[in-house]
């Protein structure tokens, strides 16, 4: 346990966040999140419900959260597994969202500092941001360019692909 935990502050904070998420629950039950296993608090899994009135409605999307040892000074990483077809999600499933980018790096050169990671952000806030990102993609900082283009030029086809992938995932 201790060999992996590294930073006591990070561990303590992750425990608090987990405890709060379990006892309070997410708003509207839109997601759940928690450590994958007891002996590694730095690997979480989240289950996110597709937001209503979007093509993602009805889907349940598992994502992997990987926390750095200096959390919360540095942001965690979030990766949908299996990947989602979405303009702001890389083809390998990694989420590209400004709230998860440390103030230093800016992969897309489009982000203002005000929407970056800061140590007062939390798992809950980030996942809520990701949910609203699912509903409203940000085409200025696309991660999946094919998807961006499709979204811009042929919205109906984009929505069809998303719905189909959800049905496949649910085994329908």
């Amino acid at each position: 346990m201790n060999s992996r935990s590294g930073n006591a502050t990070a561990l303590r904070r992750l425990m608090t966040e987990y405890k709060q998420l379990t006892s309070q629950g997410a708003p509207d039950g839109m997601f759940t999140a928690g450590p994958v296993s007891e002996d590694d608090f730095f690997q979480w899994e989240a289950l996110i419900m597709g937001p209503k009135d979007t093509p993602f409605e009805g889907g349940v999307f598992p994502a992997r959260l990987t926390f750095p040892s200096d959390y919360p000074l540095s942001p965690f990483k979030m990766r949908f597994d299996p990947p989602l077809f979405h303009p702001n999600i890389y083809p390998d499933g990694t989420v590209c969202i400004s709230i998860l980018h440390a103030p230093g790096d800016d992969p897309t050169m489009y982000e203002s500092a005000s929407e970056r990671w800061s140590p007062v952000q939390s798992v809950e806030k980030v996942i809520l941001s990701v949910i609203s990102m699912l509903a409203e993609p940000n085409l200025e900082s696309g991660a999946n360019i094919d998807c961006c283009k499709l979204y811009r030029d042929n919205r109906a086809e984009y929505e069809r692909i998303v719905r189909q992938s959800i049905q496949e995932q649910l085994g329908l």
Binding site: M1, G6, R13, M15, T16, P91, D92, S118, V120
Partner: protein, 438 residues
């Protein structure tokens, strides 16, 4: 062992958080109170709280580390530097008092919550299980009962309380019922429950603290917050020793006050007290106790080693490790200096904290290095395949732009970064270019 790890960790006494308290409708404000005494970075109670220019407060260590990373307030992003840090002594004493009373209040509120959940269904019979549903009903019931009582009193006119005081007492009771449902409930329920023992008429159990209290003084007992003896109120303990101007008169006054408050006990010899005071003043005046920040780039290796040795820190590792170690030491040291003198840690304790931090860092680095080596090895092993893919991608573009060489190089540079799928990067570049041309 492993299976119970998670639960035991969450149950550990130091894994406390605002949701330990009952929700807002049972214990109004308690969660918020607990939350407002916590640093928003570490989510623990403030440890040496410091305010910055925008008014937000954080633990000294948390804000110092955050400012090392980025010079802005983590909450509102206003620019801030370490020069803006000021001690927030009010928050510090509030945290101290709250952590002392927290367990007690937690126990009280839990008992209250149980009473809420346990009593009401029995009283209402048909009521549902949800708290929010029960409470208005209960309130309604008591209200209507009182209303009918009042009516009877008004109509009959035989009540002993009537004429002058009847309506006043009733409205008073009603105000209590609606305004303070928990308290009034505990008061009105306890005589009915098993707590009441009519035989021992003079002694009852306090519904709040379960202590045995004489019946005639139970109301005073409850009103006093379960401290039967009238509190002497120790102003000396919470008095801020704030006179940093250090004028002699004030000191003299203070000494006299101290003598007065020490009173009969008077155990502490004056010399010790004044020494403590001096120490406090010194730490308040500040600068001498803090370590300056260092511009490491201007230092020679030898000097850096000397600086580590000055503080008795190890000089193992490479130069980057020395800088990291010294920087962390300065942060830890200064954050420690922000603590109240009684809470400060010894240098040995700080050194242990430094070592723990370094061990954790090393473990994390080892892990990351392992992951990196894997990615690098994967790239090297598949470099031939990648090259083929690049070649395959080129002819397609040759017709289009004729600049494929440059695009290919750009692609190769970017592959080193994160995901090693060159094709995607290249296609990304293509589309970007298209978009620009559009």
């Amino acid at each position: 062992m492993v299976a119970t790890d998670l639960q035991s960790l969450l149950d550990a006494p130091d894994a406390h958080d605002p949701t330990d308290f009952p929700p807002q409708d049972v214990a109004p404000g308690l969660r918020l109170l607990d939350d407002s005494l916590r640093c928003s970075v570490c989510r623990d109670f403030y440890d040496a709280p410091m305010s910055i220019n925008c008014g937000h407060s954080f633990c000294s260590l948390c804000i110092r580390q955050a400012l090392d990373a980025k010079q802005e307030c983590p909450s509102c992003r206003q620019p801030a530097t370490e020069a803006h840090l000021r001690k927030n002594t009010a928050a510090e004493s509030a945290v101290k008092a709250w952590s002392e009373s927290r367990e007690f209040i937690l126990r009280l509120s839990k008992a209250e919550e149980r009473r809420h959940v346990g009593d009401l269904p029995a009283a209402n019979g048909s009521s549902g299980h949800e708290d929010s549903e029960q409470r208005p009903r209960k309130r309604q019931r008591t209200l209507s009962e009182e209303d009918s009582d009042a009516e009877v009193e008004y109509l009959g006119g035989t009540s002993p309380y009537f004429s002058s005081r009847g309506s006043a007492t009733n409205s008073h009771i009603r105000a209590q019922e609606t305004g303070l449902p928990s308290k009034s409930q505990s008061q009105s329920d306890s005589p009915l429950s098993e707590h009441r023992s009519p035989n021992s008429s003079s002694v009852v159990e306090c519904p709040l603290c379960q202590r045995r209290v004489p019946l005639e003084s139970i109301n005073q007992h409850i009103d006093s917050g379960c401290t039967l003896t009238p509190s002497a109120g120790g102003p000396s303990s919470s008095r801020p020793h704030a006179s940093r101007a250090g004028s002699r008169d004030k000191d003299k006054q203070k000494a006299q006050w101290t003598k007065l408050f020490d009173g009969g006990s008077g155990a502490a010899p004056p010399s010790r007290r004044s020494k403590e005071k001096q120490k406090e003043r010194a730490s308040e005046a500040g600068e001498a106790e803090y370590l300056p920040k260092v511009a490491y780039a201007t230092l020679k290796d030898r000097r850096l080693q000397e600086m580590l040795a000055e503080h008795g820190l190890p000089t193992a590792g490479d130069r980057a490790a020395w800088e990291r170690r010294h920087q962390k030491w300065v942060t830890l040291y200064n954050a420690n200096a922000d603590r109240a003198p009684a809470d400060q840690q010894s240098p040995a304790q700080l050194k242990r904290a430094l070592k723990r931090w370094e061990d954790g860092l090393r473990a994390a680095n080892a892990r990351r290095a392992a992951a990196d080596v894997d990615a690098g090895a994967h790239q090297r092993a598949n470099s031939a395949a990648f090259r083929e893919l690049v070649e395959a991608a080129r002819p397609k573009k040759a017709a289009g732009t004729g600049r494929e060489g440059r695009a290919g190089e750009d692609g190769r540079e970017t592959t080193g970064m994160q995901d090693n799928s060159l094709i995607i990067v290249q296609r990304t570049l293509d589309v970007r270019k298209h978009n620009l041309e559009d």
